[in-house]
C-alpha cells in the first residue's frame, strides 16, 4: 500500500466536489438542504484545498496517473509549489465566497438552486483540475469544464435576453481562446509526436523547441490565456459577463478563474517551454500596461457598480501581466534577483486580487439585494443603513486602491521597487522604456484609487439618491461573516508581507531557480537589500493609528471644546438635497474628457428650455467598435452567402450530394 500523498488528497477533494455536484441534482426540491448542507460541505472542501496547497508549497512535487482518459494518454496529475500556491488562492477565495453564497441565494427556488449548485461545484472541481493537470489532454478537459460550468453560472438568469447575450459572448471568446491553447499544446508536444505520451507535461518539459516554434507557442498561449484573463483586446466579455452573473459567481470568476489563466501562462512559458527570450517579456509587458491603463480608464467612467468592478479586474490583470512580462525580461537578462522580485509581486498581487475583488463583488451583491439597484446613480448614503457591508467594503476599497497598510499596497510596492531598482539591462531600448512603463503603472495605480473613491463615495457616502433607499436592510450573517473573512485576509496579507514572501519563495524558486533575497526580518520587508528600500507595515500601522487618534481626540476635545456652535450663513447652501451631490457620471467626467481618445462617448444633453430634461451619457469601448463589430459583420455576411445554398428543395440537396459523389469518384480515379 503506497503512502497517500498530498496529491491524492487534492484529487479526493476534486472527487468530493464532483460528488456534491451530483448530490445537488438529487436535491431538486430541497432548497434548504442545498443551502445548509451542500454549500457548507463544499466550503469544507475548499478549506481543505487551501490547506493542501499550503502544505504542497514546502513539499517536493508529487505525480499521479489516473486510470481514465485516452487509451495511450491517461490523465496525469501533478502537485508542485506553483499548483499549490494557486490551490491556496482557490481554496481561500472560494471558502469566503461559499459562505456568502449560503446567504445570497436564500430567496432562490429549489430547482434553479439545485442547478446552480451543480454548476458551482463543477466549476470548483474544474478550476482545481486545471491546476492539477499534468498533460495537455487533462488540462484541456479541465479547462473546458471550467469554461462551460462558468458559462452556465453566468446565465443563471437565462430568461433575460441581455444575460443570454453576455453569456454567448463569454462562451465565444472562451472557445476562441481554447482553440489557441489547443494549438499551443499541439506545437509544444514532446520529441516523439507519434506517441500520445508526448502530450504529457513531462515530455514537454524535456523537449526543447527551436526558437521560432517556441515563440509561436508562447504567442498562442498568451492569446489563449489572455482571452480567459481579459487581456486587451480580448477583454470585451468581462464587462458583460460580470454584471450578468450572480454576485458570488462574479466574485469567483474574477477572483479565481482569471488567475487560472495566469497560472497557465506561468506554467507554459516558464515551466514547459523554458528559457524565454527577452522580447516575449516586452510583448507581455506592453500588453499588460495597455490593459491596465485601458481597464482603469473605463472603470472610471462606468456608472454600473458591477461593470465598474469588472473593468477594475481588467486593470488588475493588466498589472499582473505587466509583472509577468517584467519577470521574463529580467529572467532572460540574467537578473535573477529582480526576476524573483517581480514574480513574487505577481503572485502576491494575484492572491490579493482574489481576496479584495471577491470582497467587493460580494459586497455589491449585498447592496444589490438590499436595494435592487445596480446603477450607482440611484444609490448613496448606504453606510447608515448597511454599516457592516459599508465598513468591510471600505477595507476592500482601500486595499484595491493600494493604500498601506493593506495588502494591495504590498504587491504594488514590490513591483514598483523592481522598476525603480532596475540597473542597466543589456538592451538599451528596454532600459529606456522601463521608466516609462513604471510611469504607466503608477498612473494606473493612482487612477485605481480614484476609481475606488468614486465607487465607495457614490454608493455609501452622501445622501440617498432615492427615497426607497431608506428601507435598505443590512446583509444577513452569512454574508457578513464572508465579508469579514475576506476583509481579514486583506488586512493580514497587508501586515505580514515578510512571512508571505517566505512562503512564496518555493514557488519562485521552482520557476526561476532563484529566491528573493529578503534582507528584512519578521517586522520589515526589504527586497534585495535593506539599504535600498524597506517597508514595515506594522510600524506604519502603529504610527498612522497613533497620529489619527491623536488628531481625532485633539480636535474633539481641544479644538471643538472652545468653539460655539451656531447657524452660519450657510455658505450658499441653505438646502442641501441628494440631487446636488456629485453623481457617478459627474465623478468620471474629467477622466472622460482627458482620455476621450480611448472611447466613443454618446451623449444626449438636454436643451436649457426643456420642460422635462433628459440626460444620458454612454462611453463605448472603441475596441468593440473597431475590432469586434467588423468581425461580426464579416461573419454574418459569410453565413448569409452560405445560406444561399439552402433552397429547401430536396432535389437540390440531392444534386449537391450527387455532384460531390461524382467529384470524389473522379478524384479517386485520377
Amino acid at each position: 500500500m503506497p503512502e497517500t500523498t498530498l496529491l491524492d488528497w487534492a484529487w479526493a477533494v476534486v472527487l468530493y466536489w464532483l460528488g456534491l455536484a451530483a448530490a445537488s441534482l438529487a436535491l431538486q426540491t430541497q432548497a434548504g438542504l442545498t443551502r445548509w448542507v451542500v454549500f457548507p460541505l463544499g466550503i469544507l472542501g475548499a478549506a481543505a484545498m487551501a490547506v493542501l496547497g499550503a502544505l504542497a508549497l514546502a513539499s517536493p512535487p508529487t505525480q499521479f496517473i489516473l486510470p481514465i482518459g485516452l487509451p495511450e494518454l491517461p490523465f496525469h496529475l501533478r502537485l508542485d509549489a506553483l499548483s499549490g500556491f494557486f490551490l491556496i488562492l482557490l481554496g481561500v477565495a472560494s471558502s469566503g465566497v461559499g459562505i456568502y453564497a449560503i446567504g445570497y441565494f436564500r430567496h432562490m427556488a429549489a430547482g434553479p438552486l439545485a442547478v446552480l449548485s451543480l454548476w458551482y461545484h463543477l466549476f470548483l472541481a474544474g478550476m482545481a483540475l486545471v491546476l492539477l493537470a499534468d498533460d495537455a489532454y487533462a488540462f484541456m478537459v479541465a479547462w473546458e469544464l471550467m469554461a462551460l460550468a462558468s458559462y452556465f453560472l453566468v446565465t443563471t438568469d437565462h430568461k433575460i435576453p441581455d444575460i443570454r447575450r453576455a453569456g454567448f459572448l463569454y462562451l465565444l471568446i472562451a472557445h476562441v481562446g481554447a482553440v489557441a491553447l489547443l494549438l499551443a499544446f499541439g506545437v509544444l508536444h514532446g520529441s516523439d509526436p507519434a506517441r500520445m505520451a508526448a502530450y504529457s507535461f513531462d515530455a514537454m518539459r524535456e523537449n526543447t523547441l527551436n526558437p521560432a516554434w517556441a515563440s509561436v507557442t508562447f504567442l498562442l498561449a498568451l492569446f489563449g490565456f489572455g482571452a480567459k484573463a481579459g487581456l486587451v483586446p480580448l477583454h470585451v466579455w468581462l464587462p458583460e459577463a460580470h454584471p450578468a452573473a450572480p454576485s458570488p459567481v462574479s466574485a469567483l470568476m474574477s477572483g479565481v478563474m482569471l488567475k487560472t489563466a495566469i497560472y497557465g501562462l506561468l506554467r507554459v512559458s516558464l515551466d514547459l517551454i523554458g528559457a524565454p527570450p527577452a522580447w516575449w517579456g516586452t510583448v507581455a509587458l506592453s500588453l499588460g500596461l495597455v490593459t491596465a491603463l485601458y481597464g482603469v480608464i473605463f472603470a472610471a467612467v462606468q456608472s454600473d457598480m458591477k461593470r465598474l468592478l469588472a473593468w477594475s479586474s481588467i486593470e488588475n490583470i493588466g498589472f499582473i501581466i505587466a509583472a509577468f512580462g517584467l519577470t521574463l525580461i529580467f529572467h532572460a537578462d540574467g537578473k535573477g534577483a529582480l526576476a524573483a522580485l517581480t514574480l513574487t509581486a505577481l503572485l502576491y498581487h494575484a492572491l490579493n486580487h482574489a481576496l479584495f475583488k471577491s470582497l467587493l463583488f460580494v459586497g455589491t451583491g449585498s447592496v444589490l439585494h438590499a436595494t435592487g439597484e445596480r446603477r450607482m446613480g440611484r444609490l448613496g448614503g448606504l453606510i447608515r443603513f448597511m454599516p457592516w457591508t459599508a465598513w468591510l467594503m471600505l477595507l476592500g476599497a482601500l486595499a484595491i486602491a493600494g493604500l498601506p497598510p493593506l495588502n494591495g499596497f504590498v504587491s504594488e510596492w514590490l513591483l514598483l521597487q523592481a522598476f525603480l531598482l532596475t540597473p542597466g539591462l543589456t538592451q538599451p531600448y528596454l532600459n529606456m522604456a522601463i521608466p516609462v512603463a513604471a510611469a504607466v503603472v503608477v498612473l494606473a495605480a493612482a487612477l485605481a484609487a480614484y476609481v475606488m473613491v468614486k465607487f465607495y463615495g457614490v454608493i455609501f457616502l452622501g445622501q440617498p439618491r432615492d427615497p426607497e433607499l431608506n428601507e435598505a436592510h443590512e446583509a444577513g450573517w452569512p454574508e457578513r461573516l464572508s465579508m469579514l473573512g475576506l476583509a481579514a485576509g486583506c488586512v493580514v496579507l497587508g501586515l505580514v508581507p515578510s512571512q508571505m514572501i517566505g512562503w512564496l519563495n518555493p514557488v519562485v524558486e521552482a520557476l526561476l531557480q532563484q529566491t528573493l533575497p529578503n534582507d528584512g526580518n519578521w517586522l520589515m520587508v526589504a527586497p534585495l537589500s535593506a539599504q535600498r528600500a524597506s517597508y514595515a507595515p506594522l510600524v506604519f500601522l502603529a504610527v498612522v493609528s497613533a497620529i489619527t487618534l491623536l488628531v481625532f481626540f485633539g480636535v474633539k476635545y481641544v479644538y471643538h471644546g472652545r468653539v460655539r456652535r451656531a447657524a452660519p450663513w450657510d455658505c450658499g447652501y441653505p438646502e442641501l438635497d441628494a440631487r446636488m451631490q456629485d453623481s457617478a457620471e459627474g465623478f468620471g467626467q474629467p477622466i472622460r474628457l482627458i482620455f476621450s481618445a480611448f472611447m466613443r462617448v454618446e451623449r444626449i444633453t438636454p436643451d436649457p428650455f426643456d420642460r422635462q430634461p433628459q440626460y444620458r451619457g454612454d462611453s463605448r469601448d472603441k475596441v468593440w467598435l473597431w475590432l469586434y463589430q467588423p468581425i461580426a459583420a464579416a461573419a454574418a455576411w459569410l453565413s448569409a452567402q452560405a445560406s444561399r445554398l439552402q433552397h429547401g428543395r430536396i432535389q437540390w440537396y440531392l444534386i449537391y450530394s450527387f455532384a460531390t459523389l461524382i467529384f470524389l469518384l473522379v478524384f479517386v480515379t485520377r
Binding site: S643, G648, R649, I650, I655, F658, L661, L665, T669
Partner: protein
C-alpha cells in the same frame, strides 16, 4: 467449366439489373415503379444465390434470402398497400423530361464503367466484371431520386440505390460480412416504415405528396 457458365448467368442478371434501372428511370407510374423495383430485387437475389453456389460462400445464401424476403416481397407489398391507402397511383411528373434523363443516364453508365475498370482489375473475385454495372445502377438510382418530385418514387430510388450497393459489394468482395448485411437489412426495413409514416404526415400537412411544398420549411 461450370464456373464460366455460372458467370455468364451472373453477367446476364447484371445486365438485367442495369436494364431495370433504366426502366425505372423512364417509368411514369408509381405502380410500375414498384413492380420494377421488385423485379430488380429478384434479379439481385438470383445473382447472389448463383454466386454463392458457384464460389461456395455460404453466407451469401442468407443474403440472397434476405433480399428476396425483404425487397421482393415485404417492401413492394407494403408500398402497394400504402398507395392504396394514400390513393396516389397517378402519373409521376418528372422534373426533367424522360429522354434527357435517359441521356444523362447513359453518360453516367459510361462514367461508371470507366471508373470501375481500374478497381475491377484489383479485385480478385470471379464476378469483378459486374462492378461497373453495380456502380452504374447506384448512380442511376441517385439520378432517379433527383428527377422525381414525389415522395414515394424518391424512397424507391433510395432503395434501388441500396440494391446497387449490395450488388457492388457482392461483385467486388463476395459480399459484406453477414453482420453488416443484417444491419443494413434492418436499416432498410426501419427506413421504409419510418418513411411510410412520414408519407401520411406529409400528406396531412400539405394535402399532397409533392415535395415541392417542403420549400416552405426553409429558414427565411
Amino acid at each position: 467449366m461450370s464456373l464460366t457458365y455460372h458467370l455468364q448467368v451472373v453477367n446476364l442478371l447484371a445486365a438485367l439489373l442495369l436494364l431495370i434501372a433504366f426502366a425505372m428511370l423512364s417509368q411514369r407510374r408509381i405502380v410500375g415503379l414498384i413492380t420494377l423495383f421488385a423485379w430488380q430485387g429478384a434479379a439481385l437475389a438470383t445473382s447472389t444465390a448463383i454466386v454463392a453456389w458457384s464460389t461456395g460462400q455460404h453466407h451469401l445464401y442468407y443474403s440472397a434470402a434476405l433480399t428476396l424476403g425483404l425487397k421482393v416481397v415485404l417492401v413492394p407489398w407494403y408500398f402497394f398497400r400504402l398507395i392504396r391507402q394514400l390513393d396516389v397511383d397517378r402519373e409521376v411528373e418528372p422534373m426533367i423530361n424522360i429522354p434527357t434523363t435517359m441521356l444523362i443516364g447513359i453518360i453516367l453508365v459510361i462514367f461508371a464503367f470507366n471508373l470501375a475498370l481500374p478497381i475491377s482489375q484489383m479485385a480478385g473475385t470471379v464476378t469483378r466484371s459486374t462492378l461497373g454495372i453495380a456502380l452504374a445502377s447506384v448512380l442511376l438510382a441517385f439520378l432517379m431520386m433527383i428527377t422525381r418530385s414525389k415522395a414515394i418514387p424518391q424512397v424507391i430510388g433510395f432503395l434501388a440505390m441500396e440494391n446497387g450497393l449490395f450488388f457492388a459489394a457482392t461483385s467486388a468482395t463476395y459480399g459484406m460480412p453477414l453482420v453488416v448485411e443484417l444491419g443494413v437489412a434492418l436499416d432498410v426495413l426501419v427506413a421504409v416504415f419510418v418513411l411510410g409514416i412520414f408519407f401520411f404526415h406529409i400528406r396531412e400537412t400539405f394535402d399532397s405528396m409533392d415535395l415541392k411544398h417542403m420549400e416552405r420549411l426553409r429558414e427565411k
